[in-house]
Amino acid sequence: MTSHDTVSALVVVQLAAPAATLAAIGLPALLGRPLTERATTRIVGGGFAVAFAAAVSVLGLLGARGFAPVIVHTGTWFAVGHHEATVNLVADALSMPYVCFSTGLCWLVNSFAGKYLHREPGFTRFFILLALFGTGMNLMVLADSIDVLFAGWEFVGISSALLIGFFFERRNAIDAALRAYTTYRICDVGLLVAAVVIHRAVGSGDFGRLFGADWPAATCLVSPGTATVVSLLLVFAALGKTAQVPFSNWLPRAMEGPTPSSAIFYGALSIHAGAYVLLRCEALLDAAPVARAALVVIGLGSALHASLVGRVQTDLKSMLAYASMAQASLILVEIGLGWRVIPLVHVVGHAVLRSLQILRSPSALHDRHELEAAIGGHPDLGSWSPLSWLPARAQAAIYRIALERGFEEPAVMGVVGPIVRLLERLATAERAWVAWLGEKRPRHDERRA
């Protein structure tokens, strides 16, 4: 069917275009001859534009056919007996709108960053990471198997961490990048184990074996037990990228990178990656009320946490980070409640609004003056709070809790600390052991002497 072939080709283009730009600007940089700024932004922008156009076309074609999904089989990684890992992409009512919106945002941020990073020493590096992110994002969104999704997910994670550490000469930036990366890695375990469980259960990573019918009306094809295990693992995986309690304190720290990357990652795309994965696998969640309940509880808790902590943040980017966290948590709650279209709409609306706010954040003074001029005074933000009926001591206590970000960090360190100390002790033991082994034989330089 020609229409099917066209769609397949266009889906591959959505992935290939940003990947090609990655190669086009990455290889010259690798050879020590980075392209000019103008060429770099044009190439990356061109890649996103092509991908965007392809996604819009596919959306139109699919819409004309009532959003029947198109599966694109691009190859098989390996197959052993009944086991196979295929590289399948899917164009359906979930992935196409999502690609449109994510590549569209990447395209905009590309043209913003071209001016914003003018003459910055890391200019090329930024665009390489942006292209890597775009590629990873599209891979994740288009994935029709857990393996492909995991690959895209990892690209998103690594580019995010590297952009947080963009100003690597600053200690804070490196610490923040490392913290984000560590959090991601811990939660990635969930996705990885989920992949293993899925492979064991159905002999393939294909989503087609997990759920039947089309999104958003997909149904679960595996046993409720498997569905519950996989769902819980996916929820765990989503907690890190969506910055849910207790994995939330990397998010405000992540505002160390250049403003446009903060906007696209923590206002728009990366923070919603977990929500996307859960939306994609919603049929499993339907069959796993335990996982849904966990999602609702964690989401609500995180939303309250973010809302409380966000109220006392005094810098623009941290405040916006907590605002993002609150909305991302609500989106998880919506998914937990079994809704499908509302969270998708919420993701798009929130991403667009928040990235605009983060991009504008350096204009806060300008905007503030205009607002003051318009309303003829200071906007009255500080006088009222929902807690003002509490006694003063209680208010102070709650304020302190909010200012300390809910004591999340020391609480987490209380768990992590002993593990780190154990590892340190093991490392010491290993050094001693190696030294003891080394003494057995004459050392290289001693022999020479």
Partner: protein, 989 residues
Amino acid sequence: MESTARHEEIHRALEHAAHFLPAQGPIDVFIHHNTLHAFEAEAFEDAVVRAARLLGTEPFLTESRYRAELAAGRIQEADIDAVLAADSSCPADAVVAGGLVRLRDLYRALLLHPVREESDASVRWTLTESDVVEILRPDLPADARRRLLAAAADDERRAASDLWHACVEAVATIPSVVVRVGTPVRHRDLILAVDPTLDTDALVHPLLIRFCAAFLDQGVASWAMPGRDRGLWAAFAELYAGRLGPLQAWCERLPQALREASGMAADECVVRELDQLGIPDEHREAFITQSLLALRGWAGMIRQFEERPDRTPVAAVPARLVDFLAVRLVCDRIATEWAARRLGVRVGAPAEATLAGLWWELRDRYPSRCGPGSVCRALRLDQVAQLVGLSGGEIRSLDENELLRFEHAIAAFDGTVRRRLFHLAYERRHRIDVLDALCAHASVARPLAEAPDGVQWLFCIDERCESFRRHLEELGPGHETFGTAGFFAVPMYYRGLDDWHATPLCPIAIRPGHTVVELPSAEAVTRHERRRSLRRRYGQLAGSLSNGSRTLVRGGLFTPVIGALAAIPLVARVAFPRIAARIGSTAAGIAGRRIPTRLDLERSDAEPLVAGTQAGFAIHEMAAIVRRVLEDIGLTARFAPVVAVVGHGSTSLNNPHESAYDCGACGGGRGGPNARAFATMANDPRVRERLAAEGLVIPATTRFVGGMLDTCATTLAWYDVDTVPASHRDRVAALVAAGEQVAAADAHERCRRFETARLDLTPAAARAHVEARSVDLAQVRPELGHATNAVCIIGRRWRTRGLFLDRRAFLVSYDPATDADGSILARTLAAVGPVGAGINLEYYFSTVDRLGYGSGTKLPHNITGLVGVMDGHASDLRTGLPWQMVEIHEPVRLLVVVDAPADRVRAAVAQVPAVERLAVNRWIQLVAWDPNGGGLEVFADGGFQVYEGERRVLPTVERSSDWYRGHREHLPPACVQAALGRAEGGGGA
């Protein structure tokens, strides 16, 4: 008794330390000032070095940068020679190496030729992998090379290896130099030297930053800190005394410590903590200074809140530096105790004894920095000996004492000394470029014989107006320009029609005594009211939407519903900034057609808006203002039919430093209202009558028009054009047209500096380009501000008219002929000296150390509390100018040229202590320019010395664009024929 004395001592130490903190106030009003104002009492060259040592910053540009300038010809050998000849460290007759080498030749060689700085680790690699000791340096001066070869029978390898062996032997006979570096006084630095993973500041600072930001917040957080009206120390002690949850390991004992200190005054607590930390009395001042400097941005902001509560943007909070110090020391002590435990020191009940013991022990263990090892020294000696032509035999002939002196002379001429001399040479070349141009231009500059039949323009002295004035003058002799401080001697609190409160528009040193309000014209009052209520409703809606989008419930409700609508402004703002801004302003224009307004300028009995001021100006005050400005600029006769008075400001988006681009003479505000007020005053017949009675006659045929120049978008706006009498309508229309034409030319000249603007833009395209910059969210360089400023010329404009000064010169109009007693000069210097020097020196320091004095790159900047910017989510407040503002700046001290006899300049300077201090201590370079002969005299060592110069020929071009077209770099002065003001020189007005 004793305790009061100790408290006083603490306060004294605190006052002393506070001087070194950054003096930048809340960022919404950015006032340029000398970053090292506290050091102005010392000579510049010494002060920058001392400050660098205290603050851990750089005093000059890097040596590699100066060497690049040397290679590019920006610094010349003649400059190096002149600088060395004038330097007291190397008198002409000083010799080293047993009289074989003149000290000055040694220094010269070391400046002109880089000597490898090797470490003990790298030197072995260098020796084995390169042929540095096997052949002679390729860059040797010819005679040095000849002498070395002559000593070795023309065998280069032999000469080189003989010298190398001689150097190795020589070094073995003289002891190594041990460099003693100052031992730190803070536990943190001492501990860090022992265990680099134990940085107590990294533990304490996040807490301090979070707390200080919340305390000073001016309305970012929707929930203000409870109890902050009781002061920082009390609020902290109360908020952190309880344990409400798990604490980080280091601050487990903080609540306990705060409970022990409860009820104590901050200074008591400081004394107690210093005792506990075990700091000996003689080190306390240094300890306090270093403790404050460790988080200097926040400490400095707290100091600003304490000293200038009137300048807080929204809510004055009772911030005191001593409170901050108390909080800091408690946290430091707790963290030090924790670190001590980690180091294996048991901290017992009297922590005092333990921490004091720790302090002394760590001080003893602090490593003194050793000099380089013997191989490094030999290599250095070898390289230097080659440069000055000393052969191996000659080195061997030196006795121990001579060798020791020789090596000491080399070591003493270290990087800082070399950079200082390089810097002097760098400034000398610029000075010669400018002063020679002034001399050469004198042969073509002529005063305008009579009043122009077109327009006299009065601008701010700002160097960004230089190009605008030059392009105006290129229109022909019908245009004459003047410069004066851009508040036009109208110091006022001003409230515009759309402002909600009055802001001061005058230099920061003046507190205005008058308030002026802009009112809608009588016929537009109802329209204005309607528009205002519309605007208020719109503002409330916009405010609650943007605020609501950040909350949980409201945000959750409406982001899914209307969030996607944000795509419209997002796409428009990012992809089509100029069109989006146009649509926005058109929409605003439709919503309420421009309201005609007038200034409520005249004194009335109405309650003034700002307490302690008077509403408006009385006629005699207006007359004094007009008179003062006209006298200052020397315009007391020969008036043109139209006098345009143009203030300036700058509009840009996404720019926390927006105010730094505005008018410095208006205290970081926009000077348009001042220009408008001045023009209104000068047009008032009662004012003119009064002035005429005093002998200053402004003819009835002369009309003043106020305007404002937006230096970012290069747009000109004019005030009160509708009230111009019929007799002047055509002339004012011509004035507006000339302004538009020149704005395009000016934008064209500005665009050559922007790398993203093509060099072949047309003037119209250039205007569109700068307009787009001013409204682009993504643009971090909306304009380049005061970057490249270097010169200030106080004098009659005709002497510099037609001279291309590349937007680098503050131009102040002053007529020495009307100022025999120097009083006008003194008040002019008082007004422009500190402002110009403040701008120039802030740019200097932010350029030479972009991270230490400047605020680094803008990209990760994060507005905090509406008072300043941090890097990322939690850093010290970043003060100074961001890298993007100073990128193309050439850091040279302001070259102030005064068109007056040297003795009058000296006398005038002596009357203004602030300027005298700057001149005597060389923070500015002062030059007197003989008003009659044209000779120049440079101020040095308390007196003026005749300037000789190089008498170079000034290049001549027809128009400015002929000189700058196709160039992005700094351009030397040139003579622009068209601007000379000769009847045949231009196209006429």
